[in-house]
Assembly symmetry: C2
Homo-oligomer: 209 residues x 2
């Protein structure tokens, strides 16, 4: 059976999304056939406006409605502490906790030679420029990339580049740190993988009762 | 952190889809931020046109670009054999096999008292009208609703209604059948649930080597 063209078009659009296969795309499309036209139009409008009504913050590269974004323009934030993340979604994860008071820098990806993503494809140069422009203001850079291969490679690359910058005496005092690795809260030792357990051992801390 | 309004709008639109939770909706939305505007507009257009450019076939209630649909208007189909399905997607499943040569009737749902869907909410009356209108043409109705509680209830209800119709001597010859139940092809007896195994036993057939 030929699927009607308008139905096929939407199935194909859904299929382009990550994690959505042909079956799910079909299911979503046929679900939407039963939905009022108004809801479809709202959905369409949201898609059209997604990029039109947002900007990339010129300081931290986060997605925002204003430039600079509300975090970079906030007076309540410690602008000397920069947390470097791969994606805007990672910022959401930190902000959910509500404890981090510094600012961010979004790389929009991680170094991944297999996908042809080198250091120039992500916003590393912007980070280094940011450090160079106000060396006295920035005290610490927290590398909060993912702890997979790409994230580790990216963290290593950035750390190396910052070390290079530190030859400038004005930047010498900058601290570079990485998120701690170890057991997740609520995690069982029994089920932890060997790498995590190894890192948890290495990172063990003094403990007083 | 407040998520920018345009981003939030799209997340909310995705969340309304079945099987898409808040996390997936966020992931899809942030993925689309990295996509060219042209692709977003294509997606939006596909959504807008989904219902505008399709019709429900006046004979079988399938989703189609033309009325009657290409199956109902085909000369190569056996119009005396009607396969009754819950959703347009079910037709796709049958057509994928390519062996079924009859026509279809789409109910657009199944009887489900828990969701307030009674016999009048789905296209049962249309099916009965179709049978009454050409009693000499239609030879068999195959009830191919799902084999869950709602699908079984719907099949039972339709079979009862058709029996009522058969009081008319012109319709008396109509055959009503239900899809066979049993082990799926490639299925292990070991992992089959008791209901399936019971049905497979009941439906066992003569077997010659």
């Amino acid at each position: 059976m030929q699927i009607p063209k308008p139905v096929k078009n939407l199935i194909e659009s859904f299929e382009k999304l990550p994690g959505i296969g042909p079956k799910t795309a079909q299911r979503l499309t046929f679900y939407l056939l039963h939905v009022p036209q108004g809801m479809l139009e709202e959905f369409a409008k949201a898609l059209m406006n997604l990029k039109k009504s947002t900007v990339i913050c010129s300081i931290c590269a986060n997605v925002s409605e204003t430039d600079p974004c509300h975090i970079c323009s906030s007076q309540n934030r410690d602008h000397g502490l920069i947390c470097v993340v791969e994606q805007p979604l990672d910022i959401l994860a930190f902000e959910r906790g509500g404890r981090y008071q510094g600012v961010y820098h979004v790389l929009h990806g991680a170094i991944s030679p297999l996908s042809n993503i080198g250091p120039d494809e992500i916003k590393i140069a912007e980070l280094l420029r940011r450090i160079k422009q106000s060396p006295e203001k920035i005290k610490e850079v927290i590398l909060a990339t993912n702890s997979n291969m790409e994230g580790e490679a990216t963290a290593m690359y950035i750390a190396k580049e910052i070390k290079e910058l530190m030859k400038d005496p004005k930047i010498r005092g900058l601290r570079v740190s990485r998120l701690a690795h170890g057991l997740p809260i609520g995690g069982d030792v029994e089920y932890a993988d060997e790498m995590t357990l190894q890192r948890a051992l290495e990172g063990r801390r003094e403990y007083g009762a």
